[in-house]
Amino acid sequence: MFSRDRWDEILEALNANKFRTLLTAFGVFWGITILVLLLALTNGLKNGVTSGFGNFATNSMFIWTQQTSKPYKGLPKGRRFNFKLDDVASLKNDFPQLKYVSPRNQLGGYSGANNVIRGTKTGAFQVNGDYPEFIKQQPMDILQGRFVSYSDINAKRKVCVIGTGVVKGMYDKDEEILGTYIKINGVNFMVIGTFKVSNSQGDKEEDANTIFVPFTTFGQAFNFADNVGWLAVTAHDETNITSLKPQIIESLKNRRKVHPEDDRAIGNFDLAEAFGRVNGLFSILSFVGYFVGALVLMSGIIGISNIMLIVVKERTKEIGVRRALGAAPWTIKSQILQESLILTILSGMVGISFAAAVIYGLNYALDMNGPVENFANPSVSMSVVFIALFILVVSGLLAGLIPANSATKMKPVDALRIE
């Protein structure tokens, strides 16, 4: 069907009026460009916002204690209380659906007073007491050495893992880090590892300026005993943490002698819920992207159909001549169909390439200038591109169909009479 002669015929016809061909092609080119760019930008926004969650396991929640607001079992309202280590054990016991229950404690914090000394250097850093599984809830790259282990926990070893910001503040360049000691609130800790939180937005600096020590060591060294500052709880993938939340809180209230209806005593932040909300937002956003993109594409297609109709009208006489010379109706029809098909596919390809170049440029600019808040890695999947191309082919055929039919509907004698 696509012999060289066919190609010549088609290219000749398209070449006969270059400007019109170009304008027609532009409609489709523009439609597909907008569709791809729109989807890519939506994706970029989505990537940006979701990476704002860091890569903290999203099926997680944080629970902390506040003041009680109701008297209960002889205890007054306004009482302050703490979770204890045995709460962690009982949660793990009562809720097998939970993957990790990490008790956490913290000292210092962002822009606090200086609390770390090494030689002549001092610095203010955030000091966390953590269990080994915390690294699975908030993945970080261990650059040197290792993270806290259970033998550290059991032996209450005075060891610590420090962030890149701490390394920068407390060490000279190229200095050996592992095995050295830093003094945190007057207690010496041996550095056993350094880490970097790879994918965090916003609080990058805070993450870098963090020191992890074993939870048990933390309690003993800084007089926290077995008090727990807050809990980071992650459920197994098949269980949604949000659905488990009421039971967990009820169990904790029961253990800490808090009135069952006292909603203010225990605070929580549900990461899964927040993440779900954002995800929902983005599924709507990408739907809008598809919708608007498809509409723009459709107007391009209508443009092609329209112009093909005009082309056929203008060429009525030529078509009459061709039929007088012995062109069968189907030959004429298929030529017009192929003209419109080639026009759509070619301009669609150019549009996709152009959009790809723009996306590449955007990514390049993002890489050069560092991350932008709430926007990262705009991209579309290959399947979207192929779907768009498929739509183009189908619509190219459709766009040609009506004009092709009207081209052969006329009697040749009437076609020849038209000037």
């Binding site: 009459g320 061709r322 007088a324 010379l325 012995g326 069968a328 040749p412 004698v413 020849l416």
Partner: protein, 221 residues
């Protein structure tokens, strides 16, 4: 087409033998073009029969009609009807393309016929680079290209000046001398006199049909 039908031809009965050069004359509205279109299968008669080379032409669908036109007929139009974005050579080769002749053979044949009408040096010119007479000669070459049984010419000299008209008629006479059957629609008597038989139409009927002494166009050229 429209809801108002108009009876243009009202009983035409005539035969053309192989090798004849016939002119169909008549004032405008006499039905001469319609007759030619029916013969050319570009239009259909409501009633009557038409036999071309012993093939009854009836119940044509567009596909078969296209095939017959391609095999049996060559058209020459008043306004030449060349495809303006194709070179003279490609225009002549077009009927052969629809016959499915391969490219090489097509070019050879088209060149042969272009040479025959004296336009070989212009083979790669576009129609708008040619004069009226040259265009009509390209059209004649195109009509000849598929080696048809009959040439149908609708006012072939209608858009040409007298001198060029005579050149074209000279060419047509030459083709007829080679044995082609040719029908010419015209309203110019001097053109009609250059054929061998004149059929006069009036209001859709033949009023006379005479063989005439052919005037050679070459004497004017």
């Amino acid at each position: 087409m429209g809801s108002n039908s108009l009876h243009v031809l009202k009983g035409i009965n005539f035969n053309v033998k192989e090798g004849e050069l016939v002119s169909i004359m008549g004032s405008s509205g006499s039905g001469k073009s319609t007759l030619l279109n029916v013969l050319g299968m570009l239009d259909e008669a409501d009633k009557g029969s038409y036999t071309l080379d012993n093939v009854p032409i009836k119940n044509l669908n567009e596909k078969i009609a296209a095939n017959y036109r391609n095999k049996f007929l060559g058209f020459i139009f008043q306004s030449f009807n060349l495809i303006n974005y194709k070179s003279a050579l490609d225009n002549v080769a077009l009927p052969l393309y629809y016959q499915g002749v391969n490219r090489k053979e097509r070019v050879e044949k088209a060149m042969y016929y272009l040479d025959k009408v004296g336009l070989a040096p212009w083979s790669h010119h576009l129609p708008n680079e040619l004069s009226g007479g040259q265009k009509q000669r390209v059209a004649i070459a195109r009509a000849l290209a598929s080696d048809p049984k009959v040439l149908l010419a609708d006012e072939p000299t209608g858009a040409l000046d007298t001198k060029t008209s005579h050149e074209v008629m000279d060419l047509i006479q030459g083709i007829n001398d080679d044995g082609k059957t040719i029908l010419i629609v015209t309203h110019e008597l001097d053109i009609a006199n250059m054929t061998k038989r004149i059929v006069n139409l009036k209001d859709g009927v033949i009023i006379d049909d005479n063989f005439v002494e052919q005037v050679r166009a070459s004497q004017y050229v």
